[in-house]
C-alpha cells in the first residue's frame, strides 16, 4: 500500500471513528436529557409535597380517544353563507344545511356553525354551557403555516398522516422525541406523589394509580414512575374462582408475599399481591353503584359502557382515597375511507360516521348525566363534583375535506370537544357554549391546507393539553416540565377551562 493510500486509510478510519464516537455521544446525551426530565418531574413532586392533605379537592380528567381519525369536518359544519362551499367540496359527504343542529355560541368569530344531526345531545350540552369546541388542533413541532409547510421550512411531526405515529404524537405531545411517556403519565408522575407517597398517614394513601384505563394499554397514561391501572367495563379483574377474603385468595396472596431471594421473583410476587389487593378494593368501591338506575340511561355501546365504568369509579373515589384521576377510554371505527355515509354512498345522515357520532353524543350525555346524578347523591356526591370532572376528545388526526367518493382520507388538524362542569357561567369548569381556536378556511390549496384539504393545525396539542393540565393542578412552573415544547407556542392557556 502506498503512503497516500495508507494516509487515506488512516483518515477514513479516523472519520469513521469520529462518527461512531459522535453518534454514541449524541445517543447518550438524548438518554441523559430525557432521564433528567423524568428526575425533575419526580423531584418537583417531592419538592412540593406538603405531607398529609396535599389536595383538598377532587378532579378527574377523561380522555375519549376516537381511534382511526375522526372526520370532524362533519362534526362541526358551517351554516349560512359558507355552507354552499362546504357542500360543493364535500359532495356526497355533505350534510344538508336544513339537517344541521344550529349552534349559538356566546362568542362570535364571524361564522355560523351546526352539529351533525346525529349529535342532538352534544348540541344540548353546548347550549347548557357544559361543552366547548376547539377548532383545528393537531400535533406540531413548531407553529406552522402553509408557506412553511410547502417550503419545508419548519420541522414537522415525523410520519405525518400515519395512524400509529399520529396517535403517539397526540398522546405524548412530544412529536420530535422518541416516545417514552404520555402527557397524562407525566402529569401523574408530578401529581401522584401528592396523594400517595407524600402522605405521611399510610391509611390515607391512594389505593389505585392516578391513571386508569378502561381501554387497555395506551401511550397517553405511560409515566416514568406511575403505571396505568387497567379496568374492564365490569370492574377490576381479580383471581378467577376466588372471592375476596376467601381461603383461596388468602393462599395465593400468602404465596405472593413469601420472601424471595431472587429479586425478580420478589417483584413478581409484589405485583400479584398488589393487583389482587387493588382489584378487591376497586370492586368494593364500585359495588354500590352496580344496580343504580341512571337518570340518563347509558346506551348499550362500547363507549358508553366504558364511560359508565369511569362514572362508577368516580362515585367510589372516597373509598379509593384518591383525589386526582386520569381516565382513558377509546372507541374504534373512525378510519372512514369507505362507508362513511350510508345509502348508495349518498346519505350523510346514515352510515358508519353518523353511527359513530351518535354513539359519541349519547355516551357523553349519559356520562355527564351520571356525574350530575352522583354529585346530587347525599352519599356519593359532593357539592363541587360536577365541576371536578372534565372530558375531552382526541383522535389520530382530522380527515381530508374533499370526498374520496366513499369517505375521507387521513388529514391533520381536527376539531375537538371539551365537556363537563355545572354550566355555571361564572364558575363552571368548562367555558361552555363557546368556540376556541381558529376555524380553517374551507378551501383546497387555501391558506390552511397542505394540498388536499388536510388542515394545518392552528392550535397545537401542547396548548390543548396544557390548558387541561393547568386546570387539573399542574402549576405554571411545571407546565414546561410536563410539556417541554410548550414554550414554542403562543397560548399555553387557551381559555376553555376555568381554574
Amino acid at each position: 500500500m502506498s503512503s497516500i493510500e495508507q494516509d487515506r486509510a488512516r483518515l477514513l478510519r479516523t472519520r469513521r471513528d469520529f462518527f461512531r464516537t459522535a453518534g454514541c455521544a449524541a445517543m447518550g446525551s438524548l438518554a441523559v436529557s430525557s432521564t433528567i426530565r423524568d428526575f425533575r418531574l419526580i423531584n418537583s413532586a417531592l419538592a412540593q409535597g406538603g405531607g398529609a392533605g396535599s389536595f383538598d379537592d377532587y378532579k378527574a380528567l377523561v380522555c375519549i380517544f376516537l381511534s382511526g381519525g375522526n372526520d370532524s369536518n362533519n362534526l362541526v359544519i358551517p351554516r349560512g353563507a359558507s355552507h354552499a362551499n362546504y357542500a360543493a367540496i364535500r359532495q356526497n359527504l355533505a350534510v344538508p344545511e336544513s339537517e344541521l343542529l344550529p349552534l349559538t355560541p356566546l362568542n362570535n368569530d364571524g361564522n355560523e356553525y351546526g352539529f351533525h344531526p346525529s349529535c342532538p345531545e352534544l348540541a344540548g350540552l353546548f347550549h347548557e354551557r357544559k361543552l366547548a369546541l376547539l377548532f383545528n388542533v393537531g400535533p406540531l413541532v413548531f407553529p406552522t403555516n402553509r408557506a412553511q409547510y410547502k417550503g419545508k421550512l419548519v420541522a414537522l411531526p415525523p410520519q405525518l398522516f400515519s395512524h400509529s405515529d399520529q396517535v403517539t404524537h397526540w398522546q405524548t405531545s412530544l412529536p420530535d422525541q422518541p416516545p417514552k411517556t404520555g402527557w397524562g403519565g407525566r402529569i401523574a408522575d408530578l401529581l401522584h406523589p401528592y396523594q400517595n407517597e407524600l402522605l405521611l398517614d399510610p391509611v390515607e394513601r391512594a389505593r389505585i394509580s392516578l391513571c386508569t384505563s378502561i381501554a387497555g394499554s395506551n401511550t397517553f397514561e405511560v409515566g416514568a414512575s406511575v403505571q396505568q391501572y387497567h379496568v374492564s367495563t365490569s370492574g377490576a379483574v381479580t383471581l378467577a374462582g376466588a372471592t375476596p377474603g376467601s381461603t383461596r385468595e388468602g393462599v395465593v396472596r400468602s404465596l405472593a408475599q413469601l420472601a424471595q431471594s431472587n429479586l425478580q421473583a420478589s417483584a413478581y410476587g409484589d405485583v400479584i399481591d398488589n393487583a389482587i389487593a387493588a382489584g378487591t378494593v376497586l370492586n368494593s368501591a364500585i359495588e354500590p353503584t352496580e344496580a343504580w338506575t341512571w337518570d340518563v340511561p347509558f346506551p348499550d355501546v362500547s363507549l358508553a359502557r366504558q364511560l359508565k365504568m369511569v362514572a362508577r369509579i368516580i362515585a367510589g373515589r372516597d373509598a379509593l382515597k384518591i383525589k386526582r384521576q386520569i381516565f382513558f377510554v377509546s372507541v374504534n371505527g373512525y378510519d372512514t375511507h369507505t362507508s362513511q355515509v350510508g345509502g348508495n354512498n349518498d346519505d350523510p345522515l346514515t352510515g358508519s360516521h353518523a353511527n359513530l357520532l351518535a354513539e359519541l353524543s349519547e355516551s357523553i350525555a349519559a356520562f355527564q348525566g351520571a356525574i350530575e346524578q352522583i354529585a346530587a347523591d347525599p352519599t356519593y356526591g359532593g357539592g363541587a363534583l360536577t365541576d371536578s370532572v372534565v372530558g375531552f376528545t382526541a383522535s389520530d388526526f382530522g380527515r381530508t375535506f374533499p370526498t374520496n367518493g366513499q369517505g375521507s382520507d387521513h388529514g391533520w388538524g381536527g376539531h375537538h370537544l371539551i365537556f363537563g362542569g355545572s354550566g355555571d357561567p361564572a364558575s363552571g369548569a368548562v367555558a361552555g357554549q363557546r368556540t376556541f381556536g381558529t376555524f380553517p378556511v374551507h378551501q383546497v390549496n387555501g391558506p390552511d391546507d397542505t394540498s388536499t384539504g388536510r388542515w394545518i393545525p392552528s392550535t397545537s396539542v401542547d396548548e390543548y393539553s396544557a390548558t387541561l393540565a393547568k386546570w387539573f393542578g399542574v402549576d405554571a412552573t411545571h407546565l414546561p416540565v410536563v410539556f417541554p415544547n410548550l414554550g414554542r407556542f403562543a397560548t399555553p392557556d387557551l381559555g376553555f377551562m376555568r381554574s
Binding site: 417531592l46 410520519q159 405521611l200 389505593r207 381501554a215 387497555g216 398488589n274 389482587i276 375511507h337 367518493g405
Partner: protein
Amino acid sequence: MKHLLVTLLAVFLFALLLWRPWESETHVSSAPTPPPAAAPPAAADAITAADVAPPVPAPTAIPTGLTGPEIQQVRDAIDNLEFVFRDFANALGGNPVGTNAEITAALQGDNAKQLQLDVPEGSTVNESGELCDPWGSPWFFHQLSGTRMEIRSAGKDRKLYTDDDFVR
C-alpha cells in the same frame, strides 16, 4: 485519559445544570414509596391493546373481478413497489408520507437526502405526479405507521373499494 475525564466532567456539569436539584426546597424522605398498583390481567370483556392499535391491513384478499394473470401482474407491481419503499425506508428511516403525489415526489428525490429511486416496474407516473397501478389508476397508500403501509390498487374497473381491488 485526560480528555475522557474532561468530557465526563462536562457531561456531569451539563446534567447538573438541567436537573437543578437545588431547586427542590423540601424533600420528604421518610415516606416510603410503594409502587403504584399493578395492572391486573385484562378481563374477557375489557378492551385490549389490540383494539386500540391502528388498524391492521387485512390479509391479501383475492379480488373476484380479476383474472389470474391480472392478479399476478398487480402482485408483481406491488412487489416492486415494496422494494422501492424498503430502499427509501432504509435510507431515510421510514416510509415517505402524504398523498400519492407527495409520496411519489419523495421517492423521486424530494427528500432529506435527495435520494432518487426509479419508478418501480409495473407502475407508471401520471400527469399529476402520482404513482399508478397497471391499469393507470393512482395507487392508494394507507399509512398505518412509519414503516407499515397498506397498498391498494383500484383494479381493472379503476374504482377504489370495489370487488376487483387488490390490497396488500
